[in-house]
């Protein structure tokens, strides 16, 4: 085994070595623990890094410095935030349904962590190599709606309930284009297994990889997936469920201290996992972006792509304003859903044609409805100088 391969498989080898150390009867349990504990440690750490990255990034976008007081360049800010969240008083409203109120963040974080079970974070690095991994991911993801409902209802607060209703309506609406655009990739890969989807995209022509995002249908599906993923993880510009200016953090409103931190963690972990699925489905998973870079360990590529995706999410958050509820729903049902079906058709065309025609056909199948729909959506938007009736 060459050193490159060892670097690539270092965690797998480490796990086998550690499992080999313990008695045979304990081996399954230890194997599970060794798989689960790194996931539980690494992704919350990534969450801590993301919070500081997000705050600094948003600051830079708005021509500010961002937090820079805690430690050198403010890198200890997540630690300070964590200490603050842990030491805060945990307030439960007197009227709240205490049991449900307690279980909502627990259920959310549990489900979100469960979704990490199938993510391939490197070659041979998935906790469970499930035959229908994509379906598992979406099934678990849909369970978070229940947690959101529990949080919103149990708080006995109208803002919490409004936020939960908004969140659930949004998640249900955007789940459809999310899954449909994933189905396009599944259709071409011919499997629901995430590892196999990655290996299907493994080849290179020249130095460029065969990732699905570099095909016409794949690019469109990737964009649809990312937009839906943004909505699904309640991030700006789809952050209506927690719109601070109108419903004061939505279903979080009655949560404080550690439970609030759990919700926050759950939201970010959801974003990471859905980014990881996007990477796996469209961006070649743990594969290198150029054929001459294949010597870099696969898990490093996975995390590099993940951080890039996170940065893109931050960039979008810093750029776009929040949508209105009717705009949100119109966008989901009148644009995303038809486009997802169109992309599905385009992927089918790609599947059954050959040579340069497949590029032309699948490109046209995507672009014509897109410009059509886009024209239709833009035509009733007459942008003109705003008239103020009373201010003048």
């Amino acid at each position: 085994m060459s050193s490159i391969q060892i670097a690539d498989q270092i965690f797998v080898l480490l796990k086998h070595w550690l499992v080999g150390r313990v008695p045979v009867s304990l081996q399954p349990v230890v194997g599970i623990l060794i798989t689960v504990i790194p996931i539980i440690c690494v992704f919350p750490a990534l969450f801590a890094i993301t919070t500081i990255l997000e705050r600094k990034g948003l600051g830079r976008i708005q021509n500010r410095y961002g937090p820079n007081r805690t430690g050198p360049f403010g890198i200890l800010q997540p630690l300070a935030d964590g200490v603050k969240a842990l030491t805060k008083e945990d307030i439960i409203p007197a009227n709240a349904d205490k049991v449900v109120h307690f279980f909502a963040p627990v259920v959310l974080v549990m489900l979100v962590f469960l979704a990490y079970a199938v993510l391939p974070m490197g070659r041979n690095m998935a906790a469970v190599d499930l035959d229908c991994g994509v379906l598992f991911f979406f099934a678990i993801g849909s369970g978070t709606e229940v947690a959101v409902f529990m949080a919103g209802w149990s708080s006995r607060n109208k803002y919490a309930l409004l936020g939960a209703m908004r969140a659930i309506a949004q998640m249900i609406s955007y789940e459809i284009p999310l899954i449909l655009s994933a189905v396009a990739a599944i259709m071409i890969a011919g499997t629901l297994n995430l590892q196999q989807i990655v290996t299907q995209q493994a080849g290179y022509s020249g130095i460029f990889p065969h990732w699905y995002v570099f095909t016409p249908w794949g690019f469109a599906a990737f964009l649809l997936f990312i937009i839906s993923a943004t909505a699904e993880s309640n991030r700006s510009p789809f952050d209506l469920p927690e719109g601070e200016s109108e419903i004061i953090a939505g279903y979080y409103i009655e949560y404080s201290g550690f439970k609030f931190a759990l919700f926050f963690l759950g939201e970010y972990l959801g974003m990471f996992s859905i980014s990881a699925i996007a990477i796996t489905l469209f961006l070649g998973g743990w594969a290198a972006p150029f054929s001459f870079l294949t010597w870099v360990p696969s898990w490093l590529w996975f995390f590099a792509k993940l951080v890039t995706m996170i940065l893109c999410f931050i960039w979008v958050r810093g750029t776009l304003p929040r949508l209105r509820q009717d705009q949100l729903m119109n966008f989901a049902w009148k644009f995303m859903l038809p486009m997802a079906l169109v992309v599905l058709t385009s992927a089918a065309c790609w599947r059954y044609t050959e040579g340069w025609q497949r590029w032309a056909i699948s490109f046209l199948v995507v672009i014509i409805p897109y410009s059509w729909l886009g024209h239709g959506m833009m035509s009733n938007r007459k942008l003109e100088q705003r008239k103020y009736r009373f201010a003048e």
Partner: protein, 200 residues
């Protein structure tokens, strides 16, 4: 094309980020304790008492006339007039404040006390870092804490202080001349001198 505006917006924010690292002018934030914006000359926050000479208590211009105490809208000034008279900076015997307190937690920086003072004795300070652990005693300033020298006044408000100084010098010269004139013809009035000083 649908989505063009989003790309434009993304480009704008990307430019913000990059230029923020390249040019310092982009980032308008002043890193306060380390960097400070220079104060403009007309800055004012809370009043202080001006004294002439070396000894703060001996050189206070304040004669405890209590006009500022009466005029103060939030009533944050408290003055006890002395029962005896002390010579002021020019050597004339005057009343002096036995106690002069300003509660700057109540003061609203309106500058009315400065405007009504006939003796140029109370002026506005520029010191703003006044945080303290003791919210009652720590923000109640007595006359020892309030007394600041004329040089300090000249330092914080140069133009205004120069005008005040020349005005005072002229008045004092007039008063001195009048006093000199009064010493030669014996029966002339001594009393108008402080009055004219007060009205000037």
């Amino acid at each position: 094309m649908l989505g063009g505006g989003i790309l434009k917006g993304l480009a704008v924010t990307a430019r913000n980020v990059v230029e923020g690292f390249v040019s310092k002018e982009r980032l308008t934030t002043v890193q306060y304790p380390e960097e400070r914006v220079p104060q403009v000359e007309a800055t004012r926050d809370f009043p202080f008492l001006v004294f002439d000479g070396e000894d703060p208590m001996a050189g206070l211009r304040c004669v405890a006339c209590q006009i500022c105490e009466k005029e103060c809208p939030p009533k944050c000034i408290y003055i006890d007039k002395s029962s005896d008279k002390k010579p002021d900076a020019t050597g004339k015997p005057q009343f002096y404040p036995a106690r002069f307190d300003i509660d700057i937690s109540v003061c609203m920086s309106c500058q009315i006390c400065v405007e009504v003072c006939p003796f140029e004795a109370i002026k506005m300070d520029v010191e703003f870092e006044l945080s303290t652990n003791d919210r009652f005693g720590g923000l109640l300033y007595d006359k020892h804490k309030l007394a600041k020298s004329n040089e300090y006044y000249n330092h914080v408000h140069p133009t205004e202080a120069a005008a005040v100084d020349t005005k005072l010098a002229v008045e004092r010269a007039k008063a001195a001349a009048r006093a000199a004139a009064a010493t030669q013809p014996k029966p002339a009035a001594v009393s108008p001198a402080p009055e004219s000083g007060a009205q000037a």
